[in-house]
Assembly symmetry: C2
Homo-oligomer: 151 residues x 2
DNA sequence: AAAAATCGATTACAGTTGTAAACTTAAGTC
DNA sequence: GACTTAAGTTTACAACTGTAATCGATTTTT
């Protein structure tokens, strides 16, 4: 396999990608327009992020006349995965359960989503553990008493 | 209520906070030591982040001799909440369900966590919708056909 | 054809972040 | 009491980010 470059997408660049993921193919005008509405960005600002994404190889360009049609070089799923992975690296593994529960409580979910979640949860039951270890202070965790995210 | 200042905690600062949240009270030596082990940071690096967190008012200091005992000025729960809020601002609302399901699939969960999640999910069933709208391209969503995170 | 608009590329620039050394002062040690 | 050590403070500095203006080359409009 080829050498995998790290594809860091910043928060602002994400906004551009969301548009492209949604439209699948977009001109700069499309992108600029959406983000002018949605984020109140100046056209120049959107252009900057488009340019950076192209340079990073996260946006593909297909020439059309003297302009480009832009499309995503990496999938939304994969990118979301990267973001959530980072999130769970960041927070205490002991807090993960409660965090997910909070997310469910706040999310807008479809029937299909609920099913999806039920299935996922069902699958998890087999491999549940008694207590998740805190990974914030490796080796010398004092979580038993303190650190009461989820104990 | 008082004016709420935005408490942006960077990823590296988080590592410091994790230690403090876990230990509840910590000396700089504690923090430096843990992060030297865990992240291979030079003491000076940890010191920088401690200093920045103090300046931001995220770490409290309590003098002890000529040094300080540090403690968290904001709770882990609240901070985790901020991070997940930002996550869900970032990703398409249509993708939220599947994203949570993926997180469940990957997480290490305790029995208690599973219960927590079941309860949260059960509560959600009443208010499930037919289809979650994409919020990436407001007003002109073409998600029906494309953008197949979760359709 | 001249003028105006557009698109992509280049440049700008301040604030944030990661990473750390150096400095200052106080405290413990020999 | 001189020396070493440790803690907190100051300074450094490059890369990354957000935010945009400007420029150069075309294309469209009048």
């Amino acid at each position: 396999m080829a050498i995998e470059e790290k594809t860091e997408i910043t928060e602002s660049e994400w906004e551009v990608m969301r548009v492209v993921w949604t439209l699948e193919k977009a001109t700069s005008k499309d992108i600029i327009h959406v983000l002018q509405e949605k984020k109140d960005w100046k056209p120049a600002t959107a252009k900057t992020f488009i340019g950076r994404l192209v340079k990073k190889g996260i946006l593909n360009t297909e020439p059309k006349g003297n302009k480009y049609i832009y499309s995503a070089a990496i999938s939304e799923e994969d990118s979301v995965k990267s973001v959530t992975d980072r999130l769970f690296d960041q927070i205490c593994s002991k807090a993960v359960g409660k965090t997910i529960a909070d997310m469910i409580a706040e999310a807008t979910l479809s029937y299909k989503d609920i099913e999806l979640l039920e299935t996922a949860l069902e699958k998890k039951k087999d491999e549940a553990v008694d207590e998740v270890a805190c990974n914030c202070v490796p080796g010398q965790c004092k979580c038993r008493e303190n650190h009461n995210m989820n104990c």
